[in-house]
C-alpha cells in the first residue's frame, strides 16, 4: 500500500484534523487515510452510546439533567462489557499453579488419531458448504455470460481448485461456465480462470474482472467474450524455477 497521505489542513474538517493530531501524539506516523474515518466513527459511536446510557441513568435517578456521575457510571458499565481486558496477573498465576500441579497424563499407546471426545470436536458438522462450481461444459461453442454474485460463498474446503474469493468481500466471482440456458435469464461466460492465487480480504480491485452483458444484446451464440485476467493469471505462487508450471486442464476435468 502507498504510504498514507495526511489530509491537507485546508480541506479536512476539524474533527479529522484533531484525529490526525491524536494519532501523531501517540506516535503513529504511518497509516492508511481511511484510518482517520474509522477512528472518528468509533469515537462518535462510543460517545453517543455513553451519553445515551447516561441519559437513561439520570432519568432513572429522576434528575433533571445529565451530570458527571451519570456519565462516569455509564463509562464504567460499558467498560466491563465492551472493552474487556485479559485477567490480572495474580489470577493467572493462581490458575496456573492449580493447573500445573496435576501430573501430565500418560499416553495410551496405539490408540489411533488422538482427538478429544467427540463432543469437543468439529468432526461431525451438520452443515455443508455449498459448492458453487458446476460441471464444466467443454464444448467450445457455448458462451455464457458471467454471473454477478454478491457475497460469494466459499466452496467446500476439500476442492478449492479455482480461485475463490474470500467470503467477506463483495466481489465478482469467477464461475467456471455453467450450463447455458439461453432463455433470457442470466448467462455465464466460461472464463479460463487461473489456479488459486493468494489474496487478502480486501482487494481494492477484484482480481477477476467480469463483464455483465445485457442479455438483450446477445444475438448469435458465437460471441466470445474475453475478460481481463492479468492480475490473477500472471502470478505464480512459487518462484521455484524447478517446479513444473501449473496446468489448469487437470483441474477442469475434475469438476
Amino acid at each position: 500500500m502507498e504510504p498514507a497521505k495526511m489530509a491537507s489542513p485546508k480541506s479536512a474538517p476539524k474533527d479529522a484534523q484533531v484525529m490526525a493530531q491524536i494519532l501523531k501524539d501517540m506516535g503513529i506516523t504511518e497509516y492508511e487515510p481511511r484510518v482517520i474515518n474509522q477512528m472518528l466513527e468509533f469515537a462518535y459511536r462510543y460517545v453517543t452510546t455513553i451519553l445515551e446510557d447516561a441519559k437513561i441513568y439520570s432519568s432513572h435517578a429522576k434528575k433533571s439533567s445529565v451530570d458527571a456521575d451519570d456519565v462516569r457510571l455509564a463509562i464504567q458499565c460499558r467498560t466491563d462489557q465492551s472493552f474487556t481486558s485479559p485477567p490480572p496477573r495474580d489470577f493467572l498465576l493462581d490458575i496456573a499453579r492449580q493447573k500445573n500441579q496435576t501430573p501430565l497424563p500418560l499416553i495410551k499407546p496405539y490408540s489411533g488419531p488422538r482427538l478429544p471426545p467427540d463432543r469437543y470436536c468439529l468432526t461431525a458438522p451438520n452443515y455443508r458448504l455449498k459448492s458453487l462450481q458446476k460441471k464444466v461444459s467443454s464444448t467450445a461453442g457455448r458462451i455464457t455470460v458471467p454471473r454477478l454474485s454478491v457475497g460469494a460463498v466459499s466452496s467446500r474446503p476439500s476442492t478449492p481448485t479455482l480461485g475463490a474469493p474470500s467470503a467477506q468481500t463483495v466481489s465478482v466471482s469467477a464461475k467456471v461456465g455453467t450450463p447455458v440456458s439461453l432463455s433470457g435469464q442470466r448467462f455465464t461466460v466460461q472464463i479460463p480462470s487461473s489456479q488459486a492465487t493468494v489474496k487478502s480480504a480486501t482487494p481494492t480491485t477484484p482480481t477477476v474482472q467480469n463483464v455483465l452483458i445485457n442479455p438483450s444484446l446477445i444475438g448469435p451464440k458465437n460471441i466470445l467474450i474475453t475478460t481481463n485476467m492479468v492480475s490473477s493469471q500472471s502470478t505464480a505462487n512459487e518462484a521455484n524455477p524447478l517446479k513444473r508450471k501449473h496446468e489448469d486442464d487437470d483441474d477442469y476435468d475434475n469438476l
Partner: protein
C-alpha cells in the same frame, strides 16, 4: 481475603498503629458478618479515615483480593494508605528476602499499590535530588546507579497518576522523560498517554508493572553508597519508594560498565534475579531409538522398510548407538510422557537418516543455497508460514482468516475418499495407502476455512498428518491433512493467539497469546495441560526445545522465559532485548537459544548457564525468522529489512567464558565480533522474510510476501 484482613490487622498491631487498627476493626464489624474473633468480614473497607479516595479504592482492592485465592503473607505486608501529606507515611517493611517468591500471587504487592509515599508535589524534588547525587558519584558507580532512573521515574509517575494528582504527574513527566535511555522511548510514549487513573484500568501491562518489583543488579559497593545517601534524613521518602518498588539484587565484585549493563537491561521487569536462572535445565537431547537401516546408496525408492533383506548387508544405525551412557544433561527418557513411535514414524526416520547421509556440510567456506518462496498478491495479508520437516508442503496463514496449504513437490495434495468409496477398495493390496486417496480431489492448493480472524501462527505436525493454526479469534484449530477438514477447535485463550507450535515428537503443542500466558495442550484434551504464566505482556513467540521437555516463550515485555513442561516452572529468564521478541530458535544440540526482536539484534543464550553469550548486529528491522542449519553450523536470520543473513554459529559458540565468576555475577563480556560472524547478506526484492527452513539436505528455504513499497 479473610486472611488478608487478619494479616493486615496483625501488621498494624505490630507497628503499634493502635488507632488505625481499632478503626479497621470497627468498620469491618460494621459491614460484615461475624466470623469469630480471628476472622473478619471480607467486605470491610481498608483505609485510614479522612482519605476520601481510599474508600472506593479499598473496596475495589478487596474485591480484587477476593478473586485471588488465599495467599500466604510473609513479613512484607505493605502499609495502609496514608491520608494527609503532612503525616509521615507508614513505611513498607523492607522487602522480605526469600519470603516473597517472585511468581506467587502477591497480595501485599497489590496492597502496596495503593500506598502513597509522601507529598506529591515533592516528587520532582526527590527525583532531581537523586539525579544530582548519581551524577556526582564516581564514574565506576555511576553506570550502575543510573539503572535506577528509569524504574524510579516510571513508578513515581504511575503513583502520581494512580492517586489522581494529574497536574503534578504531567509536570513530572515533562521534566524528566527526556533523561531516560533511548531504548525506553516506546514505553515512555505509552506512559505519556496514561494521564488518568481510569486509563490504567484497561492496561494490564502497566498494572502488572506497578505491582511487580523491578529487578536491578548492583554491586555491593555501589549499593552501600546509595543506601548511605538515601538513608540520610531528608531523603527518607525516596528510600521508601526505592524499597517498595525495586528489588536490588546485590552481588560482590566489580561494578559493571555501561556497556555490560546496556546489553542486559531493556525488559519491563528489569533484569533477572540470579536465583531465577539457577535451576537445573536438562538441555540434552533424548536418545533416538536404534534400528537397522538397509544400506543402499543408489536406491532412491521408498522400499526401505526396516529389516527387509537387500542384497547388501544392513548396517546398524550409528546415530543411536553412539552414546551408550546417559548424557548427564539429557532428561530421562520418561520424564514426560511421549507418544510411541509408529511404523510410519520409523519409516520417516529412516528417510531422514538417508537424507542426512546426503546432507551438505555447511561452513564458512560452504554456504547454503537459498530458495525463496514469494507469495504474490497477498496484499500484506500473509501472517504466518510453516514448512514440513521433509519440505514437502508449505502452509500460509492469512489475514482473511484462511489457511492455505500448497504442495511444494510435484506430488499433489489428495484427500481421503469418502466412506462409501473406502468400503469398495481392496484392503489387502500393497498400495492400500495410495488407494484410499481420492484422485478426483488432487490439487496443489487446499484452502481451509474456519477461523474468524487473521491466522497468526501455523505449525505442521512431525508426522505430517495434522496442521495447527491459531488466530485472532482466540482459538487454535487442528486440521487433518488427510481429509483437509477441521477436526478440533481448542478454546482457552479468549484473546488473540499469536503463535503456536507442535512438539518435535507430536501430540503436544504450545500456544501463546494476548492474555500473557502460554498454554501446553495435547491433541486429545480439550483443555490445556499446563499454563505458563509470568510474562508481563503478550506472549508473541513459543517454541519447543528439541527434547520436548522445555518451552521457550518470547514476549512483548522483552524477556524470554524457559518453562519446564513437567511442572510448569519458569527455569530461565533472559533479558537484554530492547523490543518485543518475534523469533526464537533452539540449536539442534539443544544447548543454545537464538532470539530475534524488533530491535534488529539476534541474541545468543547458553541455556545451561543462563547467560547471554553472543550478540549479532546487522539487521536494521524486526527479525521474524531464525533457524539453525541441520547440524548447527550456520544460523540464518530473516528480517523485515528484506534480507536473509547467515552467521557462523560454530564460531559464535566456540570459546565461552563460563567460569564461576561469570555465572555468579552475571558479568558478561560480549566480543564485538558481529562482522566476523556474518557470512553473507542476501537481499530480496522488497519482500520481508517471514519464515526460514533448512531442508534435510541443508538447502535453505525462505518464504515471504511480496510488498510493493
Amino acid at each position: 481475603d479473610r486472611q488478608t484482613l487478619v494479616a493486615v490487622l496483625q501488621f498494624l498491631r505490630r507497628s503499634n498503629l493502635r488507632e488505625s487498627e481499632e478503626i479497621l476493626r470497627r468498620e469491618a464489624r460494621l459491614l460484615g458478618d461475624e466470623l469469630g474473633n480471628a476472622a473478619l468480614s471480607p467486605a470491610g473497607p481498608l483505609g485510614a479515615p479522612g482519605a476520601d479516595g481510599d474508600h472506593a479504592s479499598g473496596e475495589a482492592l478487596l474485591s480484587r483480593v477476593a478473586a485471588a485465592a488465599p495467599i500466604a503473607i510473609g513479613g512484607s505486608v505493605a502499609a495502609v494508605a496514608s491520608s494527609s501529606p503532612g503525616v509521615t507515611a507508614v513505611t513498607a517493611l523492607p522487602p522480605g528476602k526469600g519470603v516473597v517468591v517472585e511468581d506467587q500471587p502477591d497480595v501485599s504487592a497489590v496492597l502496596s499499590a495503593y500506598n502513597q509515599q509522601g507529598d506529591p508535589t515533592l516528587y520532582e524534588e526527590y527525583y532531581s535530588g537523586l539525579k544530582h547525587f548519581i551524577e556526582c558519584s564516581l564514574d565506576c558507580h555511576r553506570a550502575e546507579l543510573s539503572q535506577l532512573f528509569y524504574p524510579l521515574f516510571v513508578h513515581m509517575y504511575l503513583e502520581l497518576v494512580y492517586n489522581q494528582h494529574e497536574s503534578e504527574a504531567k509536570s513530572f513527566f515533562e521534566r524528566f522523560h527526556g533523561d531516560q535511555e533511548c531504548y525506553y522511548q516506546d514505553d515512555l510514549r505509552v506512559l505519556s498517554s496514561l494521564t488518568k487513573k481510569e486509563h490504567m484500568k484497561g492496561n494490564e501491562t502497566m498494572l502488572d508493572f506497578r505491582t511487580s518489583k523491578f529487578v536491578l543488579r548492583i554491586s555491593r559497593d555501589s549499593y552501600q553508597l546509595l543506601k548511605r545517601h538515601l538513608q540520610e534524613k531528608q531523603n527518607n521518602q525516596i528510600w521508601n519508594i526505592v524499597q517498595e518498588h525495586l528489588y536490588i539484587d546485590i552481588f560482590d565484585g566489580m561494578p559493571r560498565s555501561k556497556q555490560q549493563i546496556d546489553a542486559m537491561v531493556g525488559s519491563l521487569a528489569g533484569e533477572a534475579k540470579r536465583e531465577a536462572n539457577k535451576a537445573k535445565v536438562f538441555f540434552g537431547l533424548l536418545k533416538e531409538p536404534e534400528f537397522d537401516v538397509p544400506l543402499d546408496d543408489e536406491d532412491e525408492e521408498g522400499e526401505n522398510e526396516e529389516g527387509k533383506p537387500k542384497k547388501k548387508k544392513p548396517k546398524k544405525d550409528s546415530v543411536g548407538s553412539k552414546s551408550k551412557k546417559q548424557d548427564p544433561n539429557a532428561p530421562p527418557q520418561n520424564r514426560i510422557p511421549l507418544p510411541e513411535l509408529k511404523d510410519s514414524d520409523k519409516l520417516d526416520k529412516v528417510m531422514n537418516m538417508k537424507e542426512a547421509a546426503r546432507r551438505v556440510r555447511l561452513g564458512p567456506e560452504c554456504l547454503p543455497s537459498i530458495c525463496f518462496y514469494t507469495f504474490l498478491n497477498a496484499y500484506q495479508g500473509l501472517t504466518a508460514v510453516d514448512i514440513t520437516d521433509d519440505s514437502s508442503m508449505i502452509v500460509g496463514g492469512f489475514a482473511d482468516s484462511t489457511v492455505r496449504v500448497w504442495s511444494v513437490t510435484p506430488k499433489k495434495l489428495r484427500s481421503v475418499k469418502t466412506a462409501a468409496d473406502l468400503s469398495l477398495i481392496d484392503k489387502e493390496s500393497d498400495d492400500v495407502l495410495e488407494r484410499i486417496m481420492d484422485e478426483k480431489t488432487a490439487s496443489e492448493l487446499k484452502i481451509l476455512y474456519g477461523h474468524s480472524g487473521p491466522v497468526y501462527g501455523t505449525s505442521f505436525s512431525p508426522d505430517r498428518n495434522y496442521l495447527l493454526s491459531c488466530s485472532e479469534d482466540g482459538t487454535v484449530r487442528l486440521w487433518s491433512l488427510q481429509t483437509f477438514t477441521c477436526l478440533v477447535g481448542y478454546k482457552g485463550h479468549n484473546y488473540p493467539v499469536w503463535d503456536t507450535q507442535f512438539s518435535p515428537y507430536g501430540y503436544y503443542f504450545v500456544s501463546g497469546g494476548h492474555d500473557r500466558v502460554a498454554r501446553l495442550w495435547a491433541t486429545d484434551h480439550y483443555q490445556p495441560l499446563r499454563i505458563f504464566a509470568g510474562h508481563l505482556a503478550d506472549v508473541t513467540c513459543t517454541r519447543f526445545h528439541p527434547n520436548s521437555n522445555y518451552i521457550a516463550t518470547g514476549s512483548a515485555d522483552r524477556t524470554i522465559r524457559l518453562w519446564d513442561v513437567l511442572n510448569g516452572n519458569c527455569v530461565r529468564i533472559f533479558t537484554g532485548h530492547k523490543g518485543p521478541i518475534h523469533s526464537l530458535a533452539f540449536s539442534p544440540n539443544g544447548r543454545f537459544l537464538a532470539t530475534g526482536a524488533t530491535d534488529g539484534r539476534v541474541l545468543l543464550w547458553d541455556i545451561g548457564h543462563g547467560l547471554m553469550v553472543g550478540e549479532l548486529k546487522g539487521h536494521t528491522d524486526t527479525i521474524y525468522a531464525l533457524r539453525f542449519s541441520r547440524d548447527g553450523e550456520i544460523l540464518a536470520s530473516g528480517s523485515m529489512d528484506n534480507t536473509v543473513r547467515l552467521w557462523d554459529a560454530v564460531k559464535a559458540f566456540e570459546d565461552l567464558e563460563t567460569d564461576d565468576f561469570t555465572t555468579a555475577t552475571g558479568h558478561i563480556n560480549l566480543p564485538e565480533n558481529s562482522q566476523d560472524l556474518l557470512l553473507g547478506t542476501y537481499m530480496t526484492k522488497s519482500t520481508p522474510v517471514v519464515h526460514l527452513h533448512f531442508t534435510r539436505r541443508n538447502l535453505l528455504l525462505a518464504a515471504g510476501a511480496y510488498s510493493s513499497q
